[in-house]
């Protein structure tokens, strides 16, 4: 399994490299280091969100409300900044993350305590969270001039030549890597998704584990909410509308099994990068936005087909001599 997974990740790396090379033949400027760094920076928010989604999908759930949570937290952060411009930005970020955690925990509680199917819960909260943005903002936009300079500057601030946004996503990747591979909670995500019935007998509370996965995805959505709004310097009801599908697509392309229990931080990051390269490269080589969507969709289906085949190939080992590897 490990080698298979590694293979799958290597496959993805190869696909990304091939894609980049292909684009470079049409548009050499794409592979300039500065441009590649920009592509990464552009994908940073997707990476952060996909890591949260990964945790949820690993537990056999799904979070359709991530983009809506992002928009709601982003709106609250922007309104807070507009109302109290002097408030330190780290505090604004903390508020956004805390609100995201609360929104996530609502999903988690509904799934855990009321046993409602995750897809239904998050489809409902998606609509509710979008509605809340309208309620608190009255449908009005918060524009760049209403935000303080510090609010807008933070993701752009350069450290060692790279924007803080990129650094932040790297920190999140590192944190998630530690959580997934070195904490009992990370292990529980895999166990609950891999075999929920068996997990119960080993003393893992399946519902509570799912609850924490939703809290995690909510918190990351909250963080992303601030990052999104400050980066694009605008907040309104419909920001990131439909982005939940990109998030799930990044996970699926990255080898996270929609049936739960299988996936990795590295794969998810690569899946998000793959989508990021496509989205950044196709416009520069003059492919129409509609063709872009078709291409993204095709890639997702190919990725799922590859993953499904890889999982099926395992089969059952009956021959004694086949057991050794």
């Amino acid at each position: 399994m490990k080698t298979l997974l590694k293979n799958r990740e290597m496959l993805l790396v190869a696909a990304i490299v091939a894609l980049v090379v292909l684009i470079a033949t049409r548009f050499p400027g794409f592979v300039r280091p500065q441009n590649l760094a920009n592509v990464y920076n552009d994908t940073s928010i997707l990476i952060i969100l996909a890591l949260g989604q990964m945790a949820v999908i690993l537990t056999r759930c799904i979070d359709l409300s991530m983009a809506a949570s992002l928009a709601l937290c982003g709106m609250v952060a922007a309104m807070l900044n507009a109302a109290v411009p002097g408030l330190p930005i780290p505090l604004v970020i903390l508020v956004a993350m805390a609100l995201g955690a609360v929104l996530g925990s609502v999903n988690g509680l509904l799934v855990w305590k009321l046993d409602i199917p995750p897809i239904v819960v998050t489809l409902g909260t998606l609509t509710i969270y979008r509605g809340l943005i309208f309620l608190i903002s009255g449908g009005a936009w918060i524009n760049a001039h209403q935000m303080s300079d510090a609010f807008k500057a933070l993701p752009r601030g350069a450290v060692l030549g790279f924007p803080l946004l990129s650094w932040l996503s790297l920190v999140m990747i590192a944190l998630m890597f530690v959580v997934m591979s070195r904490t009992p909670l990370g292990r529980a995500f895999f166990a609950v998704g891999g075999n929920p019935h068996a997990a119960v007998y080993t003393g893992i509370d399946v519902g509570r584990t799912r609850f924490f996965a939703y809290c995690l995805s909510g918190t990351l959505a909250g963080l992303s909410g601030y990052l999104w709004v400050s980066r694009y310097a605008v907040a309104y009801v419909d920001i990131a509308a439909g982005f939940e599908l990109d998030i799930i697509a990044a996970c699926v392309i990255g080898g996270v099994s929609i049936a739960g229990g299988i996936g990795s931080v590295a794969g998810t990051v690569l899946g998000a990068l793959f989508l990021g390269v496509i989205k950044n490269a196709l416009p520069v080589i003059n492919i129409s936005p509609f063709a872009q969507m078709a291409i993204s969709g095709t890639v997702i289906i190919i990725a799922v087909a590859v993953n499904a085949r890889a999982e099926k190939r395992k089969g059952r080992v009956i021959l004694r001599k086949a057991e050794a590897h």
């Binding site: 895999f190 891999g194 997990a199 080993t202 893992i204």
Partner: protein
């Protein structure tokens, strides 16, 4: 007895002759015969594993016999598919009736052969009218248009029987139909069986309950270890005779039970009860002891065990472990207290496919292998290596996915997982169900070693040889209560069967 003479003169509706069926490693049926007569109820009696289910599957075309013939009205025939058996008029009503909850009663009755209008559309008016007529024949006052999910189990049985009538079934197989029914519903079912009998159906009635066999059956056939060991008229036999035929085996199987000095009490359970599943469960378990829990399927043994480890909540009851009162509210607390439960369905509830071997082993022991909330992989590896090597696990690396192992090795991983928690009490639920004889012996030997090493073992089993061969003491449960306690010295198969089936001691 008028009927008996008529059945003996009548031709069987369906007759099986010299049927044998083998599965890899097991001979499930060997040259068995069975005749089912129109207007007569034949009870099929036998312990778990005697071959009753295999026979039913052959009768309904799900399995093909290796040898032997099936005759319908005297003519030799074959049931290559379930459909061909249904066409010949053989229909089975299972313990968990196979119907569709979301469809209406009428749709369930006529699924696949609904009356059509001239345009080829389903004729709803005729279907509902026909359904009502069929339901009236089985004495069910049900509205054909209501959804099946709104019915109780007994009513669902009636719908299943109405379906059987709708395809003009001549042979009706009832596989433990009363297992999930209440007293009142059971009596309604008896009346229905009488009515089917009067209708001229041949009925095969599979049951563990002797009172109902003697209430409704005309004939009996006893299976033991895949052989037919007796048949005849119910009026010409007694409960004692049937029990003797069921269990009267030669004690050929030798169990690898070690003599272990039984120590002080480890676990004391008293007054355990649950609103619907069991009551008044109390016992003592001593160090080095193997305590067998015997009973019919559905007697509440697994339900009690799950309550003991905190998966379900008992409404009352106390547990003392090593002399200290313990409250166990979750499996995690049970594991911490030293009680582990190896569940029956190891596929569904055992190994976690997708996790590597070592992570499977350490899953319930993570609090021991982690420091300050972080896992320590080196310690996990050490723990996993320790316990998997004790069990002689064959794997290239502990880092490989447990899903790449064979079933037997997966089972070793699951056992290593539980032993690694260093339990005081290990509960094994049907530890040898569905595995071949060689693996059974290995599991039994291992169980003995555990007891010899000072563990206390609770073994839930429905197999009498296993219970008798391995247990130091046996508790028999029936309908959620303790129906008997036996020391090893006084064990006999007849006593166990009597206690489990609720038969009074012979005078």
């Amino acid at each position: 007895m008028l009927q008996d003479t008529t059945t003996s003169r009548m031709k069987p509706a369906v007759a099986l002759e010299g049927i044998s069926k083998s599965f890899p490693g097991v001979r499930a049926l060997s040259e068995v015969s069975l005749s089912l007569y129109p207007g007569s109820v034949t009870a099929l009696v036998g312990e778990n594993g005697a071959g009753k289910s295999t026979l039913v599957k052959i009768l309904t075309g799900i399995y093909q016999p290796d040898e032997g013939t099936i005759r319908v009205d005297g003519a030799e025939t074959r049931f290559p598919t379930a459909n061909s058996a249904a066409k010949a008029g053989v229909t089975a009503i299972h313990q968990e009736t196979v119907l569709f909850d979301e469809l209406s009663v009428a749709e369930n009755i006529f699924l696949g052969h609904a009356p059509r209008t001239r345009l080829g559309l389903i004729d709803w008016a005729k279907m509902n009218a026909d359904a009502r007529a069929l339901l009236a024949r089985v004495g069910a006052d049900l509205d054909p248009s209501i959804r099946l999910r709104d019915l109780g189990i007994a009513s669902k049985h009636l719908v299943a029987i109405a379906r059987a009538l709708s395809i003009d079934a001549r042979v009706v197989i009832m596989d433990e139909p009363t297992a999930a029914l209440s007293h009142k519903e059971i009596h309604e079912l008896y009346e229905l069986v009488d009515r089917l009998k009067a209708d001229g159906k041949a009925i095969l009635f599979i049951s563990h309950k002797f009172d109902e066999i003697f209430r409704i059956a005309d004939r009996y056939t006893v299976f033991r270890d895949g052989r037919m060991v007796g048949e005849g008229l119910i009026s010409g036999t007694t409960q004692d005779d049937l029990v003797r035929m069921m269990v009267g085996r030669d004690v050929g199987q030798v169990f690898p039970k070690q003599e272990v000095a039984i120590g002080e009490p480890v676990l004391t359970v008293s007054g355990y009860r649950h609103p619907t599943e069991f009551e008044d469960i109390g016992f003592e378990l001593r160090r080095g002891e193997i305590l067998g829990f015997y009973g019919l399927v559905g007697a509440g043994r697994s339900e009690f065990m799950q309550s003991l480890i905190g998966i379900t909540k008992p409404s009352a009851g106390a547990v003392k472990l090593d002399g200290a009162v313990k409250i166990i509210r979750s499996p995690a607390e049970a594991i911490a207290a030293g009680i582990v439960y190896v569940p029956e369905e190891r596929g569904r509830q055992g190994a976690i496919i997708g996790l590597p071997i070592f992570q499977n082993v350490t899953l319930p022991s993570l609090s021991r292998t982690s420091r300050a909330g972080f896992l320590r992989l080196a310690e996990e590896f050490a723990l996993a290596r320790d316990y998997t090597s004790r069990l002689d696990l064959r794997a290239a690396s502990l880092d490989q996915d447990v899903g790449t192992l064979s079933g037997g090795n997966q089972q070793k991983v699951v056992i290593a997982k539980w032993l690694a928690t260093r339990p005081k009490v290990i509960i094994l639920d049907e530890p040898t169900k569905g595995i071949d004889i060689g693996s059974k012996a290995a599991v039994h030997a291992f169980m003995s070693e555990l007891a010899a090493a000072g563990l206390s073992v609770i073994m839930v089993s429905s197999e009498i040889p296993e219970i008798m061969g391995m247990s130091d003491r046996v508790i028999v449960m029936r309908e959620g209560r303790i129906a008997g306690r036996f020391e090893r010295a006084e064990l006999s198969a007849e006593k166990l069967v009597r206690a489990a089936a609720g038969i009074e001691e012979a005078a």
